[in-house]
C-alpha cells in the first residue's frame, strides 16, 4: 500500500502544478468553462484518490473545493481574481497536507479555508447540504445467533440486459449467503417465435436461510432496485431449514403454482411450532441430502438461462503500456552502469588495438556502436522538458508583479526543450533569481512605461533552444535596461574597479556578477536578499554552463544561459601533453591544425598566424612543464573562449573519446582547471580540461609575468 501512496503522492504533485497552470490561465479569462471544469476535475481527482490512499483530511478539504468549483461551473458563484488567489493558496495548502495529512497545525488552517469556502457558498443561493461530510457507510454485519428464513421475490424489468446486468449473478450472490430454495417463474415467457432474446421474461422466488440481515439482502439488489420489483420478507425468525423435512415441505409449497407469501407464512408458522416442540438435532447426512436437492434446483434454473459462451477463444491479451514511471534513483544507477559500460568498452578498444586482431577489432567496434546507442537512450530517459519548471516561473511572475504593483506577462517559448533532470532542478533557483531581477529592477511601473511610450504591461520572454550539445536559454525583459553609469559608480564605490579603467559594455555587465553587487538603491525584500547574480553565475558554472548579460538602456535586458545537455558523459578529444593524457571537450573545439614547433617558438606575445587568421594561444606543454623537450610537429586546437577563439597547443592528438566524468578530489592542486577526470581504456587517468578555466588561468599568469 505504501507504494501506492507514493504513486498518489507523485500524481498529486503533478495535479497541483497543473492546477497552478490552469488557474493562471483562468485568471485571464474568468468565463472559460473548460478551465473551470479542469479545476473541478483536479479537485475531484485529489479528493477521490486521496481518500483511496488514506489522505482523509486532504480528501475532505478538496471535496469542499470541488463543491465550490461545481457552483462556479453552474454559474451560481461568479469567479473573480480573489477566488483564484484563494484557490492558489488552497493548492499550496494541499501540497502541505500531502506531506503530513494529520498535522494539527495544518488542520486548523484547513478549517479556516473551509470556513471561507462555506461563506462563499452561503452567499450564493445554494443549500450547503453538499458540504456535509461524507460518511462512508460500512455496513457492519451484526452478530447474530442463528439463521433466519427470508422470502424473496426478484422480478427484473424486461430490459435488464441492456445495462449489462446478469440477473443470475444476483441470484447466485443470494445463494452464497446460506441455503436456498430457488424457484424460477417463467409464466411470462411468450411463444417461442415471439421471444426477443434481448429481453428478460423470467423472475425468481427464493427462500433463503441465512444469518445475514434484511439490509445485506437488499444490498444485493442495490444496482437494480429502482427498475425491478423486489420483495424481501422475513418468513421466519427461526432456523426452519434445520428441521427434518422442512425443506421438502417448503419446497412443495413453493413450487405449487398458486402459492404466495401468505400461504408460505402459514406453513412456516406450523413448522416453527414443530421446531420448538421437537428441538431435535437432525443427523448431518440428511441435512446434506437436502442441500444436494437445493443445488439441483438451482442448477436447473441456471441451465435454462445460460447463454452459449461464444467468446471463449484464446486470443492473447494486449497489455497496454504507454508510459512507465521509474524512480529517479533507478535511472541514476542505470546511468552509472552505462558509464561503467562506456569505460569497459574503451578498454576493449585499446586491447583490440594492441593485439592487432581483426576479429577483436570488428567486435569491439560493433560493441562501441551499441554502447553509444545504449548511452544515448539511457541519457534520453533522464531528459525532461523544461516546462516542468516554467510553471513555477509563471506563478512567480504573477505573485511578484502583483505585490510590486507592476504589470508583467511571461511569454515562454521552447518549453518542450528537454534537459537532464539534475540540470533542470539545479536551474530552477538561478532562473527564478534572474526573473526576480527582471521584475524588480527591469520592468518599470505602469505609469513610467506609459510615459516612455511602452505598453503598460511589461513582458519577460523565456526562450529555450538547442544548440549542438548545449541548450541556450534566454531570459529577456523589455524593461529599463541596465544603467551603465550607475553600475560603474557602484563598482567604484565597492573598489571593484579603479578610476580611469576603460571598460567595454560587456565588462560592465560582467561586474554585475561579481560577489556582493546590487544596484538597487532601496534593498527590496525581493532581489536584495544578499543572493546576487554572483550566485547565479556560480551555479551555472557548476553546471559547466556560461552566463552572459546584454542590455540596452530603455529597451531591456537579456540574460543568456548556455548549458550542457548532460553532466556525466562528454564527448572529447584525447590528447597528450608531455606524454600525459588529457581530454578536451569536443563541444568547445572549433578546429584542429598541425603546426611546426618552430613557429610556436618564434611567436611574439603568444599570437600566431594560421591561414591568415591571428590566434592567441596557450602553449600547454611549456606551461605544464617548462623543461619539456617538444616534438617537431605540434597540434594546435582552437577552442571557443567566451566570444573569441583561442588556440591550445598540445603534443599529440590520439582520438575522439567518450569520457565518463568522475569527480576529482580537492587533493589535485590544479583542479580548478579541470572539470573532472576519466579512466582510460588502459587504466590510466586522464583529466578533462575546462578550457575556459585553463585559458583564464594561463592568461592571468601571463599578465602577472608582465608586471
Amino acid at each position: 500500500m505504501e507504494d501506492f501512496r507514493k504513486l498518489f503522492y507523485d500524481e498529486a504533485r503533478d495535479l497541483l502544478s497543473k492546477l497552478e497552470e490552469t488557474l493562471l490561465l483562468l485568471e485571464d479569462n474568468f468565463e472559460n468553462k473548460e478551465l473551470i471544469n479542469e479545476v473541478f476535475r483536479i479537485m475531484h481527482s485529489l479528493k477521490g484518490s486521496g481518500a483511496m490512499f488514506g489522505f482523509l483530511n486532504l480528501s475532505k478539504f478538496t471535496h469542499n473545493l470541488e463543491t465550490l468549483y461545481d457552483e462556479i461551473r453552474s454559474d451560481t458563484i461568479t469567479l473573480n481574481s480573489e477566488i483564484i488567489t484563494f484557490t492558489m493558496q488552497c493548492g499550496d495548502h494541499v501540497s502541505k497536507l500531502l506531506e503530513n495529512d494529520d498535522d494539527d497545525e495544518l488542520l486548523k488552517v484547513t478549517d479556516d479555508f473551509k470556513t471561507y469556502i462555506n461563506n462563499l457558498l452561503k452567499n450564493s443561493d445554494t443549500i450547503s447540504h453538499q458540504l456535509v461530510e461524507d460518511k462512508s457507510k460500512h455496513s457492519e454485519i451484526p452478530t447474530k445467533s442463528g439463521n433466519k428464513v427470508f422470502y424473496i421475490e426478484f422480478d427484473p424489468c424486461e430490459d435488464i440486459f441492456n445495462d449489462g446486468t446478469n440477473p443470475l449473478y444476483l441470484v447466485d450472490e443470494l445463494i452464497d449467503f446460506g441455503e436456498a430454495i430457488v424457484k424460477l417463474n417463467y409464466n411470462n415467457l411468450p411463444d417461442f417465435y415471439d421471444i426477443n432474446p434481448e429481453k428478460c421474461y423470467l423472475s425468481w422466488t427464493i427462500l433463503l436461510s441465512t444469518n445475514k440481515d434484511k439490509r445485506d439482502i437488499s444490498d444485493v439488489f442495490i444496482f437494480v432496485e429502482d427498475e425491478s420489483n423486489i420483495v424481501i420478507e422475513v418468513l421466519s425468525d427461526k432456523d426452519l431449514f434445520s428441521l427434518k423435512n422442512s425443506v421438502s415441505i417448503l419446497k412443495h409449497e413453493l413450487f405449487n403454482n398458486h402459492t404466495n407469501f401468505i400461504n408460505l407464512k402459514t406453513e412456516a408458522i406450523t413448522l416453527e411450532e414443530q421446531l420448538s416442540e421437537t428441538d431435535i438435532i437432525i443427523p448431518i447426512d440428511q441435512k446434506s441430502e437436502d442441500k444436494e436437492e437445493n443445488k439441483t434446483t438451482v442448477e436447473s434454473t441456471k441451465k435454462e438461462l445460460t447463454k452459449p459462451d461464444n467468446q471463449a477463444v484464446t486470443n492473447p491479451q494486449p497489455i497496454n503500456i504507454d508510459t512507465v514511471k521509474v524512480s529517479s534513483l533507478k535511472l541514476d544507477s542505470l546511468i552509472n552502469l552505462v558509464s561503467e559500460l562506456v569505460t569497459t568498452q574503451a578498454r576493449l578498444i585499446t586491447i583490440a588495438h594492441t593485439n592487432k586482431s581483426n576479429e577483436l577489432s570488428v567486435l569491439s567496434e560493433d560493441f562501441q556502436h551499441l554502447t553509444r546507442q545504449f548511452r544515448d537512450i539511457a541519457f534520453d530517459m533522464r531528459l525532461i522538458p523544461i516546462e516542468t519548471i516554467v510553471v513555477k516561473f509563471k506563478r512567480l511572475v504573477r505573485d511578484l508583479s502583483k505585490s510590486l504593483g507592476k504589470k508583467v506577462n511571461l511569454v515562454a517559448v521552447g518549453t518542450e526543450t528537454e534537459l537532464d533532470k539534475n540540470i533542470i532542478s539545479a536551474l530552477s533557483d538561478p532562473i527564478m533569481h534572474i526573473i526576480r531581477n527582471a521584475i524588480d529592477h527591469g520592468i518599470e511601473i505602469p505609469e513610467t512605461r506609459k510615459k516612455n511610450n511602452k505598453p503598460e504591461t511589461g513582458t519577460i520572454y523565456f526562450d529555450a533552444k538547442y544548440s549542438g550539445t548545449s541548450i541556450i536559454i534566454h531570459i529577456k525583459d523589455d524593461g529599463a535596461g541596465i544603467n551603465t553609469a550607475k553600475v560603474l559608480k557602484k563598482a567604484l564605490a565597492n573598489d571593484l574597479i579603479q578610476l580611469g579603467d576603460d571598460l567595454t559594455n560587456e565588462q560592465i555587465f560582467n561586474l554585475l556578477m561579481l560577489p556582493g553587487f546590487s544596484t538597487s538603491e532601496v534593498v527590496t525584500n525581493i532581489s536584495g536578499r544578499g543572493v546576487g547574480m554572483d550566485v547565479v553565475r556560480k551555479k551555472i558554472l557548476d553546471l559547466h554552463g556560461e552566463v552572459s548579460i546584454t542590455s540596452e538602456e530603455g529597451i531591456g535586458t537579456s540574460v543568456k544561459l548556455k548549458l550542457p545537455l548532460t553532466l556525466s558523459i562528454i564527448d572529447g578529444l584525447l590528447v597528450t601533453i608531455n606524454s600525459e593524457s588529457f581530454i578536451i571537450p569536443l563541444s568547445s573545439v572549433v578546429q584542429i591544425y598541425q603546426v611546426n614547433e618552430k613557429k610556436i617558438r618564434n611567436s611574439v606575445n603568444n599570437i600566431i598566424d594560421i591561414e591568415g587568421v591571428q590566434f592567441p594561444f596557450v602553449n600547454l606543454p611549456k606551461k605544464f612543464d617548462n623543461s619539456s623537450a617538444s616534438n617537431q610537429v605540434l597540434h594546435f586546437i582552437t577552442v571557443s573562449y567566451h566570444n573569441k577563439t583561442v588556440g591550445l597547443v598540445v603534443n599529440e592528438l590520439i582520438s575522439e573519446y567518450q569520457a565518463v566524468l568522475k569527480p576529482i578530489g580537492s587533493i589535485q592542486q590544479n583542479n580548478e582547471l579541470f572539470a573532472g577526470a576519466t579512466i582510460l581504456g588502459d587504466g590510466k587517468i586522464a583529466f578533462v580540461m575546462d578550457t575556459n578555466k585553463v585559458i583564464d588561468f594561463y592568461s592571468n599568469q601571463k599578465n602577472e609575468e608582465h608586471e
Binding site: 504513486l7 481527482s45 479528493k47 477521490g48 483511496m52 444496482f223 429502482d226 484464446t314 497496454n320 514511471k325
Partner: protein, 121 residues
C-alpha cells in the same frame, strides 16, 4: 479462463492500484486514461467488464457508457462506475445511461471484489 477487465481512470495511482489488486485476484487487466481511450481499446479484444471513473477529461464515464451501449459488440458489457457522489440523482443518471452498477470511493479491495461479483462471475 481468466476474465478481462478494462480499467478507465484518469488518475494514474487509482488505475495502477486497482489494476494491481485485480490482477492479483486473477483478472487480466487493460487500462485506459479516459473514455475516448477506452473506446479505442474496445477493438475486438475480449473484455468482460469495464470499471470506469465518472469524472474524466475528454470523455467522462457517463458519455463512455452511452457510447458503449449505443453501438457495437460491447453494448451488453457490464460497466461499473467509480464515483464519489453520494447523491442519489447522480446514480440514477448513471443507471439511466446504462451503468450496471457503481462503487463509492474510497473503497477497499474487498468492496471492489464484492461489487465485481455482482456483475461478473
Amino acid at each position: 479462463m481468466n476474465k478481462t477487465i478494462l480499467i478507465v481512470d484518469d488518475s494514474y495511482s487509482i488505475r495502477e492500484s486497482i489494476g494491481f489488486f485485480l490482477s492479483d485476484s486473477g483478472f487480466i487487466i487493460i487500462k485506459a486514461n479516459d473514455g475516448q481511450d477506452a473506446i479505442d481499446k474496445l477493438d475486438g479484444t475480449k473484455i468482460d467488464l469495464i470499471i470506469s471513473d465518472l469524472h474524466m477529461p475528454i470523455m467522462n464515464g457517463i458519455e463512455l457508457i452511452k457510447n458503449v451501449r449505443g453501438t457495437g459488440n460491447y453494448r451488453r458489457i457490464p460497466i461499473l462506475l467509480l464515483t464519489t457522489e453520494t447523491l442519489k440523482e447522480k446514480k440514477l443518471e448513471a443507471k439511466k445511461a446504462g451503468a450496471t452498477g457503481w462503487l463509492n470511493k474510497p473503497f477497499d479491495k474487498q468492496q471492489l471484489l464484492g461489487v465485481i461479483k455482482k456483475v461478473l462471475r
